[in-house]
């Protein structure tokens, strides 16, 4: 039995079972948590094959799907070093999302759990799709439940937030669909590997202007999803208005869809287009890094602040991808996971604070560290990870991205590194105003994390430390798959070629 098929089926089954279970009982939660945990354990089975052969698709699911005379599309999914950890991130965080929904969602639990299951189904599909059309379908499948979660369970301006989120994303996906169809019209396939084969065989050459147009079609969808400056207007309002579990998943997992799409499809399929646009994209990414950090600095709301900090961090991922260097791309993939863990944890904890205080305005807090030392410590660790402190996960990603940028074009690294200074400033200032200082008068109720609230926090912290201190558990498939990707597209910069040359000691010393 194919692991990927099981993995994909589990949340879908979960979705229907939750829908079918009685409304006012524990059963919807029970089914949701059981299927999502089962999915997590099943997904562990993906790791072994990927380590054995990271540069090719493993656990492949390749079924005939649509076979008409005009369109031939196969249901083609696979796992390699680039997406394996994103799948695992998804399967790890969905049970956490289910768990925290118990307390952080106040009403209509059943529907929420059902949507979480559907969301997981969509995400696994997005991250494992090899066929572009399949990718597109899952992209939309993942979008809808998130839209509903924001729109029906969100805060006061949920309608506005949900519509904005939806319209922005739809706008991009329409362009992506157009590009997929256009591409299909002259390659005759929508299969990622098929297209690459067509290109590499030389049967069809894609003109540079077509490459740019197609690239931009995909890029639009992904850039909005990341989001890249200045397409980020949907993000702060969506992150703030979404219910806590949805914000958690939106920031931790869903924001990786765009970055993943850039790396998986945009760059290898349209290397010419990617190359031609790279300078502009890098500039936008760097603007995003600094801009997001500066705007985060002056936010008055915790969730909004983390939202803008996300824009800054996601800029690092985009920068890494468009350095086209081994280190930069490795760092970008690593940063996707790291950002998922650290920002996820921050939003999760912000959610528990919101639950206690009914607000996430910074001015409603202050001096709560003595009241809730556990919460303060957990928040501190997540914050330090987010600030890129070595031994925690984000440092690895940021360092490699900066290293890649420095080797490609040193000034990029100089500007991007400014974001690292600013991240300390906005985070620590927020922490000080929220947790430190004298306890507020009159006393506010701020109980510490309960055992049930520690449950999702502890694994996140452990993974942050693990990813930060022993990267060899995660990095080998990433770096192998990226090497293959860069090689395939022959756009890696010269440095990598030099480095890949036999590294005899004398060759290293010569300069």
């Amino acid at each position: 039995m194919n692991i990927l098929a099981v993995l994909l089926a589990l949340p879908l089954i979960g979705f229907f079972v939750v829908l079918a279970s009685p409304r006012d009982s524990k059963l919807p939660f029970f089914f949701a948590i059981v299927t999502s945990l089962a999915a997590f354990f099943v997904s562990l089975g993906l790791i072994g094959p990927v380590f054995a052969d990271p540069a090719h698709f493993t656990s492949v699911l390749n079924l005939p799907w649509i076979d008409s005379t005009t369109f031939q599309i196969r249901f083609h999914l696979g796992i390699d070093g680039i997406n394996v950890w994103l799948i695992l991130l998804t399967t790890l965080l969905i049970p956490i999302g289910v768990w925290i929904s118990q307390t952080q969602i106040r009403e209509r639990h059943k529907g929420f759990y059902a949507l979480l299951m559907l969301f997981e189904f969509g995400l696994i599909g997005v991250f494992s799709a090899v066929d572009l059309f399949v990718f597109y379908v899952f992209w939309e499948v993942a979008l809808v439940p998130m839209y509903l979660m924001v729109g029906s369970w969100g805060g006061a301006r949920r309608g506005y937030a949900a519509v904005k989120f939806f319209v922005y994303t739809m706008l991009g996906s329409v362009l992506m669909l157009g590009s997929i169809i256009y591409l299909y019209s002259f390659t005759g396939t929508s299969d990622y590997q098929g297209i690459l084969n067509v290109f590499s065989s030389g049967r069809i050459t894609i003109s540079p202007s077509d490459s740019v147009i197609l690239f931009l079609g995909f890029f639009a969808a992904f850039a909005i999803k990341v989001p890249i400056f200045p397409l980020h207007a949907w993000l702060p309002v969506a992150y703030v208005e979404a219910p806590a579990p949805a914000t958690f998943l939106l920031a931790a997992v869903m924001s990786k869809m765009g970055a993943y799409g850039l790396l998986r499809f945009c760059v290898p399929l349209f290397p010419v287009g990617a190359h031609r646009c790279a300078d502009w994209i890098v500039i936008l990414a760097i603007i995003g890094i600094i801009y997001g950090a500066l705007v985060a600095l002056v936010q008055r709301n915790i969730k909004r602040l983390i939202a803008y900090s996300s824009i800054s961090h996601l800029g690092f991922i985009v920068l890494g991808i468009f350095t086209f260097s081994q280190n930069g791309v490795d760092g970008a993939v690593y940063q996707m996971i790291a950002h998922g863990l650290s920002t996820g944890a921050l939003f999760l904890l912000a959610g528990t604070m919101e639950q206690r205080r009914g607000s996430t305005e910074i001015s409603d807090f202050g001096g709560i560290a003595p009241l809730a030392p556990g919460l303060a410590s957990a928040f501190m660790i997540a914050m330090l990870a987010s600030m890129g402190l070595p031994t925690l996960c984000n440092f690895i990603g940021e360092y490699l991205v900066l290293q890649g940028a420095a080797l490609t074009h040193f000034p990029w690294a100089v500007f991007a590194a400014i974001g690292v200074i600013l991240s300390a400033a906005y985070m620590l200032w927020m922490y000080q105003r929220t947790f430190l200082g004298k306890s507020p008068e009159p006393k506010i109720a701020m109980p510490d994390l309960t055992l049930s609230e520690w449950v999702p926090v502890v694994p996140l912290i452990l993974f942050m430390v693990w990813l930060g201190s022993y990267t060899q558990s995660f990095m080998p498939p990433i770096t192998a798959a990226n090497a293959q990707l860069l090689e395939q597209t022959r756009i890696s910069n010269e440095y990598r070629v030099q480095l890949a040359a036999p590294t005899a000691p004398e060759a290293l010393h010569a300069r």
Binding site: I66, I421, R511
Partner: protein, 614 residues
């Protein structure tokens, strides 16, 4: 040799006290917190005795930390003669300060928290000094910065402590910005971050006469060093860092962490040797900071602030030593400074403890009789830092100033005058504390044995530490031509003694004269008393504009106005066109959602069925 055990003990101490300390009784917390450092110290002694005489560096590789393409960074630890000094200073002085803390922190809340942070600091500091490559060093570097943040903000109910902690972290981050860029360029130039590897590559390279990549790398790394070691213009965080408990000031902000920048440059001496322009920058910044900070120290009234500016100034001396090529003299001073400055701070802590928290020199005085041990040990420390012949500071400062005399005479003269200022402000503080009449309202008492014992041990080291010839020990790594220039020696000693005598005259013999001098100095006094308004200038020139730009221009202007407003405007335009379709709009989000979900599911099923039928 299992070098990893050295940092491991304090890490375990941190975890135990950090996770369970709340429920543990004090003796157990002490046992864990101090025992871990003691084990570490003992293990350092064991390792050094085994490896003596440590002719060649001894390295151990544990695991690959980061591997991406050809870039491979190992988690490697190395011990060589330079490391050996740092290890002994860090674990030895660290142990004494940990013991002292039992007494000093006895009545504080968060006792376990204090010891767990201190242990975490020891862990990162030991990683820093044992690192075999720049990135592992950076781990320790950032880690000690974190602990510094946590410990400066130890009294987190007080906002001045929180402000100081945040300032320390952010200013250090500015330095780390340079450090990180230096690391990135090192990879570019050497394809490795390994010290041994870079040293080997350097031996084949010519000295860089112009401004090339080596100069750029070394200058960027120096930016990092200037942040961590509080050199101009990034020194501003260190005086504020005195908001932390006094043992923290002694351990982190005097003896060990702040010397990390000096250590890093000495560690990379082979690189700096090839970049004379950078060397000059290091020397000039060092000597300027030494004089600048000493001048501020003269007029401070908070005893810890006096010592803090003194630390900034003494670190400047170390950088002067490095910059003129006398690396081992810089490290020598690092070591003696660790002894006498730790002693000064612990002594000050003893005074503060005895006066129930009073730190203002104007409310002290006449404590010599009440606190004899503190008084005598502080005298030794003060003589040592003043470079009084025979005391440890004399040897190390002399080594630096002699080298400066040969290298660039004007730097020697500035350094010598600064030595005079140093002696003056140190003895000003000393006399104001112990001489004259008691001017406060507390009941001064000598500190308990657990605090005075470390003082006595440190006093022995502050006196005798100069007889350990660090330059000789380091000579295989960093050649040092000893210039026993008697003229230079006599001049600097002369300035020092003059400073002591002036302090004696102004603060013991003619106290009224100091008062009238202050009035006649007028604006100059105000300028220096207010620390040249550097903080105010930074605030007005950097911090305030940054906040204004972020809030008014970027957030409200660009983000809400252009990015969001523009898109919403576009949306309204589309909505206007779409007005014809208004019939379909019921206005309920849930309604739309249901339609969209139903539609997409339908599409999926149809496609699925279509596939399935084939």
């Amino acid at each position: 040799m299992n070098l990893w055990l050295i940092p491991l003990f304090p890490l375990i101490g941190f975890l135990l006290n950090g996770l369970f300390g709340k429920r543990l009784p004090k003796p157990v917390i002490n046992l864990i917190g101090i025992g871990s450092v003691a084990l570490s110290f003992a293990y350092v002694l064991f390792v050094l005795s085994k490896l003596y005489p440590l002719q060649a560096p001894f390295s151990e590789h544990y695991f690959t930390w980061i591997k991406s393409g050809a870039l491979e960074i190992g988690f490697d630890l190395t011990i060589d003669r330079l490391t050996s000094i740092m290890l002994l200073v860090v674990t030895g002085v660290g142990l004494l300060i940990h013991i002292y803390s039992i007494g000093y922190m006895a009545h504080e809340n968060g006792y376990y928290r204090f010891f767990s942070y201190m242990n975490l600091f020891m862990f990162f500091m030991l990683v820093l000094v044992l690192a075999s490559n720049l990135l592992v060093l950076f781990v320790g570097w950032e880690g000690v910065g974190l602990c510094s943040y946590l410990l400066i903000g130890f009294y987190y109910l007080e906002n001045f402590a929180n402000d100081a902690a945040k300032k320390a972290f952010v200013v250090n981050r500015i330095g780390d910005f340079g450090f990180m860029l230096g690391i990135l360029l090192t990879i570019y130039a050497f394809k490795s971050l390994d010290f041994g590897h870079i040293a080997a590559a350097m031996s084949a390279m010519p000295v860089e006469t112009g401004f090339g990549i080596l100069t750029l790398i070394t200058l960027l790394l120096f930016v990092g060093a200037a942040g961590k070691s509080a050199q101009f213009p990034l020194y501003v965080w260190l005086p504020d860092a005195m908001a932390g408990p006094t043992p923290v000031s002694a351990l982190i902000h005097a003896a060990t962490m702040v010397t990390a920048g000096v250590y890093m440059i000495a560690r990379l001496s082979f690189l700096y040797d090839h970049a004379p322009i950078a060397m000059n920058v290091v020397a000039v910044i060092g000597v300027f900071t030494a004089a600048f900070a000493a001048s501020i120290g003269i007029l401070q009234n908070d005893i810890k602030k006096v010592y803090a500016y003194s630390t900034v100034s003494q670190l400047g001396y170390m950088f002067l030593g490095l910059g003129v090529g006398a690396y081992s003299a810089g490290i020598f001073h690092l070591m003696t400074h660790a002894f006498f400055k730790a002693l000064l701070f612990l002594g000050a802590g003893s005074v503060i403890h005895g006066l129930s928290g009073e730190q203002d020199l104007r409310h002290m005085g006449g404590l010599a009789k009440k606190m004899p041990i503190t008084c005598w040990t502080l005298l030794i420390a003060s003589l040592s830092i003043s470079g009084f012949p025979g005391f440890s500071g004399y040897f190390s400062k002399d080594a630096i100033l002699s080298a400066a005399y040969v290298h660039t005479p004007w730097m020697f003269w500035v350094g010598a005058v600064t030595a005079g200022m140093t002696a003056f402000y140190i003895f000003r503080a000393y006399f104001l504390t112990f001489f004259g009449k008691y001017r406060g309202h507390e009941h001064p008492h000598e500190s308990p044995l657990v605090m005075t014992l470390p003082l006595i041990v440190l006093a022995a080291l502050a006196f005798g530490g100069g007889y350990i010839s660090v330059p000789n020990w380091l000579s295989p790594m960093m050649p040092f031509a000893e210039h026993q220039d008697t003229t230079a020696m006599a001049i600097s000693v002369g300035f020092g003694i003059a400073g002591i005598l002036l302090a004696l005259f102004l603060y013991v013999m003619r106290p009224a004269l100091a008062e009238s001098l202050r009035e006649s100095a007028g604006p100059l006094y105000t300028l220096i008393y207010n620390k040249y308004y550097v903080d105010e200038i930074y605030n007005a020139v950097i911090v305030a504009p940054l906040k204004y730009i972020s809030r008014v221009i970027l957030w409200h202007g660009v983000d809400e106005g252009v990015v969001d407003g523009g898109m919403n405007g576009l949306g309204r335009l589309v909505a206007g066109i779409g007005g014809l379709l208004r019939q379909l709009q019921s206005g309920s989000v849930r309604n739309y959602a249901t339609w969209i979900m139903a539609g997409s599911l339908l599409v999926i099923f149809i496609l699925g069925l279509a596939g399935g039928m084939r």
